[in-house]
């Protein structure tokens, strides 16, 4: 393989299109005869629907149809994609999630009725004319309150609003016993607050039923078109899959929120056949706040026990996770298999027990959001570590060095078997922390901090050494844990007769840069120019199959599938080359786009081999023409990127406002194809992580009304809220995939949050403050300092 492109910061091919406004997003698509949908949504968090009067709306100008949960569509519901069992072995509670509310509404913003009209204006105007007789019911929004006896019931058949209870790790008695014998226990109670995902492109769908072909096309802003097709056809509408095409061209960000199959997708698809017209719906920003699946929302009690030397003896965590009013597609695996399984962190903790109760509440559904369960676990571990260091008077970096799993490469040393089911592939946790400490000049900082305190300035430093599990996922493993889908990927490489290469991937770019990074390694594998490679994704009629993009899986899983096809191409090409060169196949080597007879100057270019494959006049006997291979790749294991993040802050004593002075991110994401894209992913993730620590948070009032439903009230990080992010990397390749890559999409969001919170705690620790709840708003920090 040549390495003209791998490892180079190649500028992104797709950016020209994006930066000049030529992206092809769903809302840009205008079909002939297209009608528009608008929804009437519940203004109440919990209310019985006594009756719905649609007569005025139905007679309003331009209205083509009005539907409610009493129509056929009320019989259809979207499924949950992951079955989790109660501790007693019973399946989780899985009440129906109808396309339009039936009987009652369970959160503010739930779809109650839909109007379809000739224009968007008319649809909106008519939706206001729908009269719903609601009877308000009592409301519960907090997961810890929801599971108490006597709390208002969100679903009648889910007692105590409990979706499931679940545990992982060592037997509780063993962990309890170790805790009882601990020299020191650090205990924290906190809320990992709810976040709104805020993709810049709101969700947008166009459903188009073609009566002549008896075929549906759904244009959708999704992260996984094939999965949407599978779920909608097989589990919601009962339409044969080969009659449906799902198209997802350019998508403006997802962060998880566009993985899921939303009710609006299926409803529009159903309605398009009913009215015989294409129908478009694009969420507005308000609807996005109320209905895009949220992230996080855990109430946690966490304890870590240490011996006198600072070695971790045991970890015990109990959390209530809020899943909202209905189970979104992957909601159930987030607090369990994507969360509990990360409780080992980078440490040799010998005994771990993670105990989770998932709750229904009268809130918008919660699902995976950049990191999906792992940021929450990382926050628990890393916040405990810095707090324990303060409490025990041990330096927080030193406490980590005492407890790190020693380096292992997964080749010469075995993978590390955790107490919580997973086996880590390779890691060098002390390596990233050492590098980060160098970058921050740690010893100097402690002197500067002491001097600053003398002058009344509050400087603090915080650490986070995270690990995450990505490259999702080995199908058999996740299947045994309850996943209702396989999580392999498909890579199809079509070499055109002229030697140009079309690649079809089942993973999906919604900002990640697949068109560039994938083309880089494809070009290097074949020894050709990147300009001769085109990456296609996002169309189920074009790409054989795929599971989409989330869980930092695109390169590790999707890229590996493509490599498998490239290997097949090179191997078949060798047969053709051997024939043309009149040499034995075993005497050939392939490099720089040439098949060469070893030790000679006899060679043939890849392009000539391709042409021969499609014009097979002088051709090996018995060999099929063509140079076109598709492969499924099912990973052997997850991948485990890791890193060390250090944050330096100054806290304004007068106002409590936190100023981030420095942010250092040393990440190990395995081999790097495009360092510029990796840096971009880290930057974006770090900013989201800092956003959670400092600014963001969805709040509901006691009636279940969201009080943060606009950018006037929901604080997103802006450029001037974040510092220059200092990045570096160590490289510990993934031992079990052909590219040696681990994934970089979520790292920043996982590592950054505890680093910032720990830095603020460090800045004010000398006042005796041990904890503040996120987001660390100026008022919260100020109040803590007054106490």
């Amino acid at each position: 393989m040549t390495t003209n492109y791998i490892g180079q910061p190649v500028k992104r091919k797709e950016d020209n299109r994006f930066l000049t406004g030529k992206g092809r997003y769903t809302d840009d698509i205008k079909l002939p005869g297209m009608a528009f949908a608008a929804f009437a949504r519940s203004p109440y968090a919990h209310a019985k629907i006594n009756s719905i009067d649609t007569s005025q709306a139905a007679n309003a100008p331009g209205v083509l149809a009005v539907y409610t949960g009493s129509d056929e569509c009320g019989n259809f519901g979207v499924p949950c994609g992951w079955l989790v069992h109660f501790k007693n072995g019973e399946p989780m509670k899985e009440p129906p999630h109808p396309l339009l509310a039936v009987g009652k509404a369970r959160h503010v913003g739930e779809n109650v009725a839909v109007v379809i009209a000739e224009s968007l204006q008319e649809a909106r105007d008519a939706a206001e004319l729908i009269e719903v007789d609601y009877e308000e019911l009592s409301v519960v929004t907090d997961p810890r309150q929801a599971v108490q006896e006597g709390a208002p019931l969100v679903h009648d058949d889910a007692p105590n609003n409990t979706v499931y209870d679940w545990e992982i790790g060592n037997p509780k008695e063993e962990v309890d016993a170790a805790m009882d014998g601990a020299h020191h226990i650090t205990k924290l109670d906190f809320k990992n607050q709810r976040l709104a995902p805020n993709a810049i492109e709101p969700r947008s769908y166009i459903a188009d039923y073609d009566v002549n072909a008896d075929k549906y096309t759904l244009y959708t802003s999704t992260q996984n078109p094939h999965l949407i097709r599978l779920l909608m056809c097989a589990f919601v509408l009962g339409i044969p899959e080969h009659k449906v095409r799902v198209v997802s061209y350019d998508v403006g960000g997802g962060f998880g929120s566009k993985i899921y199959h939303y009710t609006e997708e299926a409803l529009l698809t159903w309605a398009s056949k009913k009215i015989g017209r294409p129908i478009k719906w694009t969420s507005d920003r308000t609807e996005a706040f109320y209905t895009d699946a949220h992230g996080r929302d855990y109430c946690t009690t966490a304890e870590m026990g240490f011996d006198a030397d600072g070695k971790i003896l045991a970890l015990r965590v109990h959390s209530e996770a809020n899943l909202g009013a209905y189970l979104s597609t992957f909601s159930t695996c987030c607090p369990t298999y994507l969360h509990g399984t990360l409780a080992q962190g980078c440490y040799t903790t010998p005994l771990i027990n993670i105990d989770i109760t998932a709750a229904f509440t009268n809130t918008n559904p919660v699902d995976a959001y950049r990191g999906a369960g792992r940021p929450e676990m990382t926050y628990i571990l890393e916040h405990l570590m810095d707090t324990a260091a303060l409490e025990m008077g041990i330096d927080p970096a030193e406490l980590r060095f005492k407890n790190f799993i020693p380096p292992f490469d997964g080749v010469n040393q075995e993978g590390y078997q955790t107490q919580v089911a997973l086996q880590y592939d390779s890691g060098n946790y002390e390596g990233t922390l050492r590098r980060a400490l160098e970058m921050v000049n740690y010893e100097n900082f402690r002197q500067e901090q002491a001097a600053a305190r003398e002058n009344g300035k509050l400087l603090g430093i915080g650490f986070s050494t995270y690990i995450e599990g990505c490259g999702i996922a080995p199908s058999a493993v996740v299947g045994s844990l309850g996943a209702r889908a396989g999580l392999y990927e498909v890579g199809h490489v079509r070499v055109q007769p002229t030697g140009k290469v079309s690649v079809f991937t089942g993973s999906h770019s919604h900002g990640q840069g697949h068109e560039t990074a994938f083309a880089q390694f494809v070009a290097d594998h074949l020894g050709i120019s990147m300009d001769d490679v085109e990456i296609h994704h996002g169309d189920t009629d074009q790409v054989a199959f795929g599971m989409g993009t989330y869980g930092s899986r695109s390169l590790a899983v999707g890229g590996s599938a493509i490599v498998k096809s490239l290997d097949k191409i090179i191997e078949k090409g060798a047969k053709i080359a051997a024939h043309k060169l009149e040499a034995a196949e075993g005497d050939l080597e392939f490099a720089n786009g040439q098949y060469t007879v070893k030790g000679t100057d006899k060679s043939i270019a890849f392009g000539d081999v391709a042409l021969t494959a499609y014009v097979p006049h002088d051709y090996p006997e018995g060999l099929e023409p063509g140079l076109d291979f598709s492969s499924f790749y099912d990973p052997a294991n997850f991948t485990y990127p890791f890193g060390a993040h250090i944050c330096v802050v100054e806290v304004d004593q007068d106002t409590g406002k936190v100023d981030i002075r420095r942010f250092i991110a040393v990440d190990d994401v395995g081999n790097v194809i495009n360092p510029m894209i990796v840096d971009g992913q880290i930057h974006g993730g770090v900013v989201q992580g800092l956003g959670q620590a400092l600014l963001e948070g969805v709040s509901y009032d006691e009636n279940g009304q969201m009080i943060t439903g606009s950018y006037m009230d929901y604080a997103m990080p802006r450029a001037d809220d974040v510092p220059f992010i200092e990045t570096d990397r160590t490289v510990t390749p993934c031992p079990h995939n052909p590219l040696g890559v681990k994934g970089a999409g979520e790292a920043g969001a996982i590592g950054a949050t505890p680093a910032l919170v720990n830095a603020v705690m460090d800045a004010i620790a000398h006042i005796g403050i041990r904890d503040i709840q996120m987001p660390l708003t100026p008022e919260r920090v100020w109040r803590a300092m007054q106490a």
């Binding site: 968007l120 204006q121 909106r124 105007d125 106002t655 709040s699 943060t708 008022e779 109040r783």
Partner: protein, 267 residues
């Protein structure tokens, strides 16, 4: 985010705008920069049946030197105010204020007249208007009149403007020494507390926005001012302090004192 239906009329003169306003009454809204009105319309919180666009009226547009004062037309954008050399030289507190309103896009479109007429209790201008003792010139069907800074602001989204009156200009007495300091609301970047202070002979004038439902002159601070910052303790004397999701009454009251002190430090 689609407004309810409305008619749109582009006025070409102040007289025409006033007569349209008289004609349509409560049904009509004046459109200037649109940065407060249009979001409210898109959320259908505000549903005027007629928009009277005064954006094209040249007579509302310029910043001029009036000898002892600087006059800014109602249609001047925040960007124009922030970057005007006349304003910088003679009413620098106003320039500092305009520079921290919203973001670049807002500053290019939003206007001083629109902002004042809207009277958001967390908007920035009122602090500078009060501290400079500016005069707001308005015109209606009964003719023109001037409203003093302290009379103009009357409550949340409430001003002394008559039903058919529009703001034509604001007259700022020249006050070279001044400062505006602000604690930003983290989401909207409006003022949780905004404090404008200017030198006034041996004394000072202090205007405070964001703290109460009506922006106010901090007279107690002005009276207690002794050249040091100790007068800041009087920042909220006699004031009902607001409370919201971003700042409780107690915290906001504390911030008011902190930001008055910071303003006094800079005088």
């Amino acid at each position: 985010m689609i407004p309810a239906k409305f008619d749109y009329i582009k006025a070409t003169s102040i007289d025409q705008a006033i007569s349209l306003l008289s004609q349509h009454g409560y049904e009509a809204k004046i459109l200037a920069g649109g940065h407060s009105l249009l979001p409210a319309m898109k959320l259908r919180l505000n549903r005027p049946s007629v928009l009277i666009d005064i954006g094209g009226i040249d007579a509302l547009g310029s910043i001029t030197d009036e000898g002892d004062a600087i006059k800014a037309g109602a249609n001047c954008t925040h960007y124009e105010i922030a970057n005007s050399n006349l304003v910088k030289s003679h009413v620098n507190v106003l320039s500092q204020t305009a520079r921290v309103i919203g973001d670049v896009q807002v500053r290019y479109r939003g206007t001083i007249g629109g902002s004042l007429a809207h009277a958001d209790p967390a908007s920035d201008y009122p602090a500078a208007i009060l501290a400079t003792d500016a005069t707001i010139s308005v015109r209606g069907s009964n003719g023109a009149r001037d409203i003093s800074a302290t009379e103009f602001f009357q409550g949340i989204f409430t001003t002394a403007l008559g039903e058919d009156e529009i703001i034509t200009s604001i007259r700022f007495p020249k006050t070279a020494n001044g400062t505006y300091v602000k604690f930003f609301q983290s989401a909207s970047r409006f003022a949780v507390v905004g404090c404008a202070a200017v030198k006034n002979g041996n004394g000072i004038r202090v205007g405070i926005t964001g703290v109460a439902d009506t922006p106010y002159r901090a007279s107690a601070v002005e009276q207690a001012y002794d050249g040091t910052t100790s007068a800041a303790d009087h920042a909220i004397d006699g004031v009902d302090v607001m409370s919201d999701h971003f700042a409780s009454e107690e915290y906001r009251a504390h911030l008011a004192k902190v930001f008055v002190r910071r303003a006094l430090e800079q005088l």
